[in-house]
Subunit: 340 residues, 2 copies
């Protein structure tokens, strides 16, 4: 008793009950909006709550109800980081909007190391959250596997490689890549190259597939260069290689806006003008796209809707037994600006 901490004991449901002159049970019913409470009792409880400054203790509530009112959003730091993936911030906002509407609290967890992986898995198992949204999981991801194993309501943003029977939302990368490549061809380009990347992820693979489909007989494997990441430097180097291999190249599909921006830098240095000498298109419709000189034609990702749909998918699973097994693909659109 000597070193009692400064924080005073919070008011409990008992204090409210005493102040209102009713029982615990009645207070609980008022708090949870249940029927069978007389108007007088309800009013007394409500004013008592304000009077004593009561706020429900979530730990106690969770313990009893076995739910937490929170949903986790898991971001894998290397390679999908806030800094690198321009859409993550927007996805997050979309998710937050839907959950907030349903009175769920979104908690964002960052996985930066295997150490984090373990702790996050424990956190999920510990009953802190009622569901989980996972962004850009990679194959053999330990968290994705843990989630699948424990059967907690979950949704993936981006088709999860390897794991079956799980809910996800994503975009149709094949169709989007095909669509923007077709428009590039429609403007008269005949020697079209691609700076591909992230071929170890479905997004990267699918964009390449769509590109090839669209070109048909015009496709020349010599005009495809590959890089591990969707990075600006990949664009600089990729464009350099393409110019070297094919000086007559007249179109480029960069698999991300950052790559396209890098390609434009190389082209400027090389004295090529865009879109006169070459048409350049990107993917993402991120902040890069408008910043480029000239403004970039690109594929718009419905990032906010991806986040919203993922949240909805999780909410749907909560409290239901039949889990929606398969995923949803959202539509993309081509934004035609000045670079092609």
């Amino acid at each position: 008793m000597t070193s009692e901490p400064a924080r005073p004991r919070a008011a409990t449901i008992h204090d409210v009950a005493r102040a209102a002159g009713v029982s615990r049970g009645t207070v609980s019913r008022v708090i949870n909006g249940e029927p069978y409470v007389s108007p007088e009792a309800r009013a007394a409880v409500e004013s008592a709550i304000l009077e004593v400054g009561y706020v429900p203790n979530t730990a106690a509530r969770n313990l009893k109800t076995r739910r937490s009112g929170a949903i986790a959003l898991i971001v894998h730091e290397p390679h999908s980081l806030f800094l690198e993936d321009p859409n993550i911030g927007t996805i997050l906002l979309g998710t937050n909007a839907v959950l907030s509407q349903a009175d769920y609290q979104l908690v964002t967890l960052i996985i930066d190391s295997t150490r984090d992986s373990d702790r996050v898995a424990e956190y999920l198992r510990g009953g802190f959250v009622d569901g989980v949204i996972i962004i850009s999981a990679r194959a053999l991801d330990p968290i994705a596997q843990a989630v699948a194993a424990m059967g907690i309501p979950a949704a993936f943003v981006g088709r999860p490689p390897g794991i079956e029977g799980i809910a996800y939302v994503g975009i149709d990368n094949v169709a989007a890549a095909r669509s923007i490549t077709e428009r590039l061809v429609a403007t008269g380009r005949r020697r079209v190259g691609m700076i591909a990347s992230a071929l170890d992820r479905d997004s990267g693979r699918d964009r390449l597939a769509g590109f090839q489909e669209a070109l048909g007989p015009l496709f020349d494997p010599e005009l495809v260069v590959e890089f591990p990441l969707y990075s600006h430097s990949a664009g600089i180097e990729g464009m350099r290689q393409l110019l070297e291999r094919a000086p007559d190249i007249d179109g480029v599909f960069a698999s991300s806006d950052a790559i396209a921006a890098g390609a434009l830098d190389t082209l400027r240095t090389a004295g090529k003008t865009v879109p006169d000498d070459l048409g350049v298109v990107g993917f993402d419709d991120s902040a890069w796209a408008l910043r480029c000189q000239p403004a970039l034609s690109t594929v718009h990702q419905p990032a906010a809707q991806l986040g919203e749909a993922a949240a909805q998918l999780v909410l749907d699973q909560i409290g239901r037994v039949d889990i929606p097994t398969e995923g949803r693909l959202l539509d993309t659109s081509v934004v035609w600006r000045l670079s092609a």
Copy 2:
């Protein structure tokens, strides 16, 4: 009993105790690494935990111990969003690193509306977290006030306007701005302007103050333009105004890299070469800085360390009574590249 959910009841401490042939108390002692447990008992409990797949129920633990092992990081969405502020992602990683080390779980909360504000305040009060880190709070921020009022361990990143006696970390914006401006002057610039912004925040105000200090008698209020946000478009427009007001201008301090990038775009359009005609410097050392043509001289913010220090500040407060009242300013450095 008819609609028993699919999720099986998790193993409890009782199950472990039974499997290990010891009592609840002993299991609890093992889990919490307390002394006074015989080696045999410890071994038995440890293998029993694996056997029954026990994971502690955090709700029950929180209820009893009144702590959660989690710390909140609050981001205000409009104006400090992931997308706009290039440092936020890095701050977040720094924070996560320190907390992870101390076995605390970081949960990121996003405040997007007043509705969110209320729910987050309730969340904090509900005992979900043991401490809170708040990024770039503005004056009269409801969450900041709630946190101050409830006396939960807290730290601010960025000097909080209005609220007194609270722990914070930040950078010395005045000194940093003075330092980079001085170097600009040292290269022979005499007509130096500034594109200022966010003057309603301490960061914006202080950068302007440092600029003025460094210039001394060279300072000309005519060469300062102001904008509300640290945005690229502010740079475009600000540079245009400066060129109009003073065609003989030979140096510009942009109050952020995004602004500097915008200024460079305007200068390119106007046919000015950098750094020959004008020297341009920015602030942040963000991804923009390297992307610029030419690469931007700028002030490097120790974003990761800011995050780490804030986390440490909160950890220090947990369990202690004497709250460190004042803040810490971290050192910045000037990164000299090609733009000045």
